[in-house]
Amino acid sequence: MNLTLKIWRQKDSNAKGQMVDYKVNDISEHMSFLEMMDVLNEQLVNSGEEPVAFDHDCREGICGMCSLYINGEAHGPDRGITTCQLHMRMFNDGDTITIEPWRASPFPVIKDLIVDRMAFERIQQAGGYISVNTSGNTQDANSLPISKHAADEAMDAAACIGCGACVASCKNSSAMLFVGAKVSQYALLPQGQVEAADRVKNMVAQMDLEGFGNCTNTGACEVECPKGITLESIARMNREFVKANVKG
């Protein structure tokens, strides 16, 4: 199929960017979206132009690196997948496809379609861990039974890959789905209880400091999340936050 691509080009974080039109031809429907981008880049390099910079790495939907806003949606029109798992069979011959970087003030553009997601790192550094030494002298793994239900729920929250699609799809650029998932994982496990109050307070404080917007429960994040993290993790974070503040 032949396609027209409208792609955001921006030389670096200080430059002013703009949308640029490109044509790609003979795209196979079996290609992944990023392989189509590879074709475009090969074409650009061969004509002496700079290729379009975009984040990607594992190309199997788990590293959370890829981050394109395709035709107005994070990770494109398909559901439950990342951009690297999106296939060209979702598009038709002659289509025009708009490709933009994640848009949120705490995610400044580094180049073209690459954004800086360090805000997520700092939120996790604020408390996204259990303070246990990696000495190996901890108690036996089976000394503390955890209900299967809690373990499974913690796993569902822990499935977050930190791609930022939640922030990108949120009209308020809120990071609450991401932070909610991280808080939930530890809140559901007994190991996380000891520091639960400080964790949620510190992580939320850092999230606010980074300049993310406020959640208005539109639910866009859970629809676009490639890993099926739900609004329940935000609700859980809200409860944890109240609990932490009531305790003082």
């Binding site: 409208k6 955001w8 949308m19 806003y69 035709n71 107005g72 949606e73 029109p77 708009t98 933009e100 848009r103 949120a104 003030s105 705490p106 799809s169 009209k171 308020n172 650029s173 809120s174 609450m176 939320v204 404080a205 999230m207 606010d208 300049g211 993310f212 917007g213 406020n214 959640c215 208005t216 429960n217 539109t218 639910g219 866009a220 629809v223 676009e224 739900t230 609004l231 329940e232 935000i234 609700a235 859980r236 974070m237 809200n238 409860r239 936050f241 109240v242 503040n245």
Partner: protein, 219 residues
């Protein structure tokens, strides 16, 4: 606690709490208004009670005013902060693919409701205050029904009412379950509460609209 109210989640919860209060108030308000359709006397009696009972006047009324003002002011504060979080907009943004129109446009339905409340204050509340506390006219416990009927004579006001309540419905369609979610309850995600929310967001505005239209047709 001031830290709590400065935090994003704290504000979210404050929004939800004020919303619950306002949603409760809407039920009371509608219940009183509805009586005007079938019993002017009952309507007068209830209105008189509301207008003169000191507990309602000096305890509940200030809370209500505070609730309304708080909900609006905080709504605007949050909206501004949210806008600051997304300065560069998408060239193409397909919000309809993942969320409802209502949820994305709470600020606009909210503004419409605010405009209505301003009208409402001019129509009822300011004359009431004037009547009772400034001019200090003698209380007539049967005046309320007449005043009500009088208000719904001009067709423009009835249209303004209908439009405003449609916006209220849209606001509630998202707001009802959203308030539960903000409070950390997942009940709003369950079918029962979603249906109650839908019913609430239709019945309440429809009730007010019926009252307005009824008096417009029957004055």
């Amino acid at each position: 606690m001031s830290g709590f109210l400065k935090s994003s989640i704290g504000r979210k919860i404050a929004m939800a709490l004020s919303a619950f209060f306002l949603m409760f108030f809407l039920i009371i308000h509608l219940a009183v208004n509805i009586t005007s359709i079938f019993s002017p006397d009952l309507f007068n009696e209830l209105s008189h009670f509301m207008g003169t009972n000191p507990l309602v006047q000096f305890a509940l009324q200030p809370v209500l005013v505070f609730g309304v003002v708080f909900h609006f002011v905080m709504g605007f504060v949050l909206e501004l902060k949210n806008r600051k979080a997304t300065i560069v907009k998408y060239v193409q943004d397909n919000g309809a693919a993942n969320s409802t129109w209502m949820s994305r446009n709470m600020i606009y339905s909210g503004i419409a409701i605010l405009a209505f409340i301003v009208l409402h204050f001019i129509d009822f509340w300011i004359p009431e205050l004037n009547h009772k506390y400034i001019v200090g006219m003698p209380e007539d416990p049967t005046r309320y029904f007449g005043e009500l009927q009088h208000k719904f004579v001009p067709v423009w006001r009835v249209i303004a009412y209908v439009v405003a309540f449609i916006f209220l419905g849209l606001h509630l369609a998202h707001g009802f379950t959203s308030a539960f979610q903000s409070m950390g309850s997942t009940a709003g995600r369950k079918k029962t509460l979603q249906q109650i929310g839908k019913a609430y967001s239709v019945i309440i505005p429809l009730g007010f609209i019926i009252v307005a239209v009824f008096h417009f047709l029957n004055h």
